[in-house]
């Protein structure tokens, strides 16, 4: 049988169901948010790594001539090599919905036994039957095809119709929808039948030890390179991807950063809510605490009651834990499908579960500990003398005195103003709750605006509308004249392009990157120069890095000499500038004149930048088609033909998960912040029920009381909005910069979304009125006697 004091706990809960529901809701929201974010975090980080590692990703990729099987065996037998495998890849285009998209056809020698970057059969046939292809599962929608369909592809200026026999899963390639790229797989025999020559020129190796050590991998790859070259092979470049890191790891990490940061803040918010509501609850209980002390209740015993009560609330709120876990599992599953990997197990890691339980129990307990301490610390005499009117005499503080000098305001509003600042502790809690809610809401929108603004800014600095990549270098003047003669085109500029790699002092080539060679005075781009200057004809062999390339060589400085391998030649270049090019891969720019000298491709170009007369999407689609038609009869093979809309879409697809999450975070902040607003306003009024009774006793009408209470609510709401509006700018700036660095290796062009401020102001105003009107309405319904006897 329960002792009377524990019965008191349960009956108090029964008697204060509304308030208890608020506390439990507040804890539950925290538990759900922590459960949600930590569960998805736990599942995604484990599964992405496990999935990727399970495919046995290549430690390094060496690009060389066609390689013979006996050489592979020799490499496999090396003690520092675990395994080696070759594959070939052809770049082409696929015809989808009236336009050409990029297409990559991978060729493996033995599909039944893929050992490095393993392929997993999905639907349909496996391995690819003779004359047919398989498509990467995430690329099926990009190809707008189904198993059994035939697709139109163009490889080396020849068009082929290929039946799709099935799908497979290749975790080694980025999600197709993000790249707007179709990955297909065929056997060497199929290519032979099609009359396409394929070179097995990609040698993929895995190292025998220290698979996570990039330096070790690079050293091993270079040893292999030396050996291959001693055998008469030419190794064009060596690529060492970040070890055991999925291509979309940084997107995932950025999302995780936001998830954990946002989850923590929501939990802080709910902790403040708990403090707020418990504080109000305890202040209502002060007299009862005093009575219990007066009849012999020890502080420990009484504290135990309220701690027990909070633990009970936690236990009730913990019922929401599965909701958070399920939400986390669903989120993980959704993100996994977006990033094209499988969730093998939705089990929540034990440490994450423990963390959820600990946070669900400890944080509310900690949040409630101060109100409990304060409530149970009060002496019997103080508590019995507490008639529910403020114990903090108004006028004792400087601010109060200033407020008391305010004149010319209606007395009820004056009372609202003074009441607002009377209980400093309560005010701080209320402000914190509302300001955090508002800050989260507005920050989510600001960060999203900053991301989109950065992309806008990038396209404002890019003055061409269509970029065409050709399969080979063609005469630059011819490219330009054909383009300019095309309907809808007003200008065109041919750029050189090639694959570059920096050679270090040991003669070792680093990862390759694209080198673009516009005319030095090109008007088509004016990237923001972070350091040094843009290209000019003044200095021979000047090179400009974009920020993403510099991030790979953080020790390099403007003015440094670098040795660059470009078009099979090694030359010395001087780093003259760093430019910011948001959402671009690592790139270097050299002047076209230098490109001609360095590559001997005099007057040749492989890339064509086109300016159109109209810049809307439909005009660009038409211009692209016109360009296709213009170049088709010339025999000049296009590899890709992307409008700024296409490339912008690819960039936006890369950040869509982040921006969607930010919108969701904003919506959740709205709910949690609104709940906080309702709770704090409600408890503010509830705490002063006795005072309301006094005001009614001296003649305040219902309307007058409502005006005072609602006025106070609105004052608090508006001040909290002001506070949030001030905090949110530096806060969202910091978050935007962190996110920019994590996702795009650059700071974002910070932008403020004014609608966030307006929406939050509206929310605060409406919620303040509702939240304070409801308790005022309840108080108005009580008789003066009831209110004065209010416990």
């Amino acid at each position: 049988m329960l002792s009377p004091r524990w019965r008191k706990v349960f009956r108090d809960i029964q008697a204060n169901l509304g308030q208890v529901a608020l506390v439990v809701c507040a804890i539950a929201v925290g538990v759900v948010s922590v459960g949600w974010f930590t569960s998805s975090y736990g599942i995604l980080s484990r599964e992405l790594e496990a999935n990727y590692v399970a495919t046995n990703p290549a430690s390094a990729i060496l690009y060389l001539d066609d390689i013979s099987p006996d050489v592979i065996e020799s490499i496999q037998s090396r003690s520092d090599i675990l395994d080696a495998e070759v594959m070939g890849m052809l770049q082409g285009r696929i015809h989808v919905d009236g336009e050409w998209r990029t297409f990559q056809l991978y060729v493996r020698q033995d599909y039944e036994n893929t050992r490095i970057n393993q392929l997993v059969p999905e639907d349909g046939e496996f391995p690819p039957p003779l004359g047919e292809i398989l498509i990467e599962r995430a690329a099926l929608s990009v190809a707008d095809a189904d198993i059994g369909d035939e697709i139109q592809v163009q490889i080396e200026n020849q068009e082929y119709t290929l039946p799709v026999a099935g799908t497979l899963h290749d975790l080694g390639v980025p999600p197709a929808w993000q790249e707007n790229n179709v990955y297909a797989y065929a056997t060497p025999e199929t290519l032979t039948r099609l009359g396409i020559e394929i070179a097995f020129d990609e040698l993929r190796i895995t190292v025998a030890e220290n698979a996570g050590d990039e330096t070790h991998i690079r050293n091993v790859a270079l040893d292999v390179t030396d050996w291959l070259e001693s055998e008469g092979y030419t190794v064009f470049r060596v690529q060492v991807p970040p070890p055991l890191e999925h291509p979309n790891q940084n997107q995932m990490e950025s999302l995780m950063m936001l998830l954990s940061g946002f989850g923590s803040l929501v939990f802080v918010l709910t902790a403040i809510l708990v403090t707020n509501v418990m504080s109000a609850y305890l202040s209502k209980q002060v007299r009862q605490i005093a009575v219990m002390k007066a009849i012999g209740g020890r502080r420990g015993q009484i504290t135990g009651l309220y701690v027990g009560m909070v633990l009970l609330f936690c236990a009730l709120a913990a019922l929401a834990l599965p909701v958070g876990v399920i939400a986390g599992q669903e989120t993980a599953s959704f993100l996994a499908s977006m990033l094209n990997f499988n969730i093998e197990s939705e089990t929540i890691p034990a440490n994450i579960l423990l963390l959820q339980v600990a946070m669900g129990l400890l944080v509310p307990l900690l949040a409630a500990s101060y109100p409990i301490y304060r409530g149970t610390h009060v002496t019997v005499r103080e508590a019995l003398n507490d008639y529910g009117l403020s114990q903090n005499a108004f006028g004792a503080r400087w601010f109060d005195r200033q407020l008391s000098r305010v004149r010319g305001v209606q007395r009820p509003l004056l009372l609202s103003l003074r009441n607002t600042f009377r209980q400093r502790w309560r005010l701080i809690l209320t402000f914190s709750t509302l300001a955090i809610g508002g800050t989260l809401f507005m920050a989510a929108l600001n960060v999203r605006a900053s991301l989109l603004n950065s992309i806008d800014e990038r396209y404002e600095r890019q003055h061409y509308d269509i970029a065409i990549n050709f399969a080979d270098a063609y005469p630059a003047e011819q490219l330009e004249s054909i383009a300019i003669a095309t309907e809808g085109v007003v200008d065109a500029e041919a750029w050189g392009t090639g694959s570059g790699a920096i050679i270090d002092t040991n003669g070792t080539a680093g990862n390759t990157f694209i080198v673009l060679a516009p005319p030095a005075e090109t008007p088509l781009v004016d990237w923001e120069v972070l350091e040094g200057r843009w290209l000019s004809g003044d200095i021979e062999n000047g090179i400009v890095f974009n920020h993403a390339l510099l991030a790979e060589y953080p020790d390099l400085q403007v003015g440094d000499e670098i040795t660059l391998s470009l078009a099979d030649r090694t030359q010395s270049w001087r780093l003259v500038g760093i430019v910011r090019e948001t959402a671009a891969p690592p790139l270097a720019y050299i002047a076209y004149a230098d490109f001609e000298r360095a590559t001997s491709l005099t007057g040749q170009a492989q890339r064509l930048m086109v300016v159109t007369d109209e810049h809307d999407e439909q005009s660009l689609i038409a211009a692209k088609q016109n360009l296709e038609a213009s170049f088709d009869p010339t025999g000049m093979v296009m590899r890709s033909n992307l409008s700024s809309f296409d490339s912008r879409q690819i960039i936006e697809d890369h950040i869509v998960l982040i921006t969607s999450f930010l919108v969701m975070a904003a919506a959740l902040s709205l709910v949690v912040g609104g709940l906080g607003l309702m709770t704090t306003m409600g408890t503010n009024v509830l705490e002063r029920t006795r005072e309301i009774g006094v005001m009614r006793a001296i003649g305040a009408s219902n309307n007058a009381l409502t005006r005072i209470i609602v006025g106070e609510g609105v004052v608090i709401g508006l001040l909290s909005w002001l506070l949030a509006a001030v905090i949110v700018v530096p806060f969202s700036y910091i978050v935007a910069q962190q996110l920019g660095q994590s996702l795009l290796q650059t700071s974002l062009d910070f932008a403020v979304n004014p609608s966030g401020f307006v929406i939050w102001l509206g929310v605060v105003a409406v919620f303040s009125v509702i939240a304070s009107w409801l308790p005022a309405w309840s108080a108005n319904r009580l008789t003066v006697h009831d209110v004065l006897a209010y416990e």
Binding site: R5, K8, R298, A396
Partner: protein, 250 residues
């Protein structure tokens, strides 16, 4: 505790205050509620404290009940010096030694009448769990409201609630009861019932110290202590002292 013989009966000095002073810091400066109080109350005595509002009578009661602390002087109640006790120790001590009765009853609204009476036993670990209920019912029987034992306080009249409060004060069988204007909120008839109950308890050996404004208290109280401006104005048991003191009631 000092024990001595009075009229052939051994009597103990159960409450002893020496040089007690109580001052409060207020925004207007220091307010002295009690000044140099010397007071001794014996076991089984029914002492009444009277005085105008603000004279310090409730403060005196609170200090004796360990609810408030003296700024200076010594307070010994039930053989225990209260001066050095922590709040916690005071609570434990109070649970065993003093039963407190308030003007506004102060019953816990979410506990039934019987549970309110059982609560001090629960806190003070008085009796075994299963015997507590029986004792609560006995005490409620004693105060004449056992029939209401399972009701919540708000369903009871003021007089009934005060009788529950008295039963609760008696729960741990403390030797001393302190009552701060226990009849202040009751009608004349109900006040009479409560005072009769107090008289009966005194006859059973309880010591009662009560603050009151009741005018006919001289017929029941053994001793009347009149306070004015924090000082004892009159302290006596005779009819003369009572008659002298009564005009000082507010």
């Amino acid at each position: 505790m000092n024990t001595y013989i009075e009229n052939g009966v051994p009597r103990r000095q159960i409450i002893k205050l020496e040089g007690v002073q109580k001052a409060y810091e207020t925004s207007a400066g220091e307010f002295v509620a009690l000044r140099d109080i010397n007071l001794s109350i014996k076991t089984g005595e029914f002492a009444t404290v009277i005085g105008k509002s603000g004279s310090g009578k409730s403060t005196l009661l609170n200090i004796i009940a360990g609810i408030d602390r003296a700024t200076a002087g010594e307070v010994v109640v039930g053989g225990t010096s209260l001066n050095g006790l922590s709040e916690n120790q005071l609570a434990i001590w109070r649970g065993k030694t003093v039963g407190v009765i308030f003007q506004f009853f102060q019953l816990l609204p979410t506990l039934t009448v019987a549970e309110n009476v059982m609560l001090p036993m629960d806190f003070g670990r008085f009796l075994n769990g299963n015997k507590r209920k029986q004792r609560a019912l006995d005490l409620l029987e004693r105060v004449g409201i056992v029939g209401q034992a399972h009701k919540l306080p708000h369903t009871l009249s003021g007089g009934q609630q005060q009788r529950v409060a008295i039963a609760r004060a008696l729960a741990n069988d403390p030797p001393i009861l302190v009552a701060d204007e226990p009849t202040g909120n009751l009608d004349t008839h109900t006040a009479e019932v409560v005072l009769n109950l107090f008289s009966a308890l005194v006859n059973e050996g309880k010591t009662i110290l009560m603050v009151t404004h009741e005018r006919d208290i001289e017929t029941r109280s053994h001793r009347l202590i009149s306070l004015e401006d924090g000082r004892i104005l009159v302290d006596g048991a005779g009819q003369k002292e009572l008659k002298d003191a009564l005009p000082t009631l507010a």
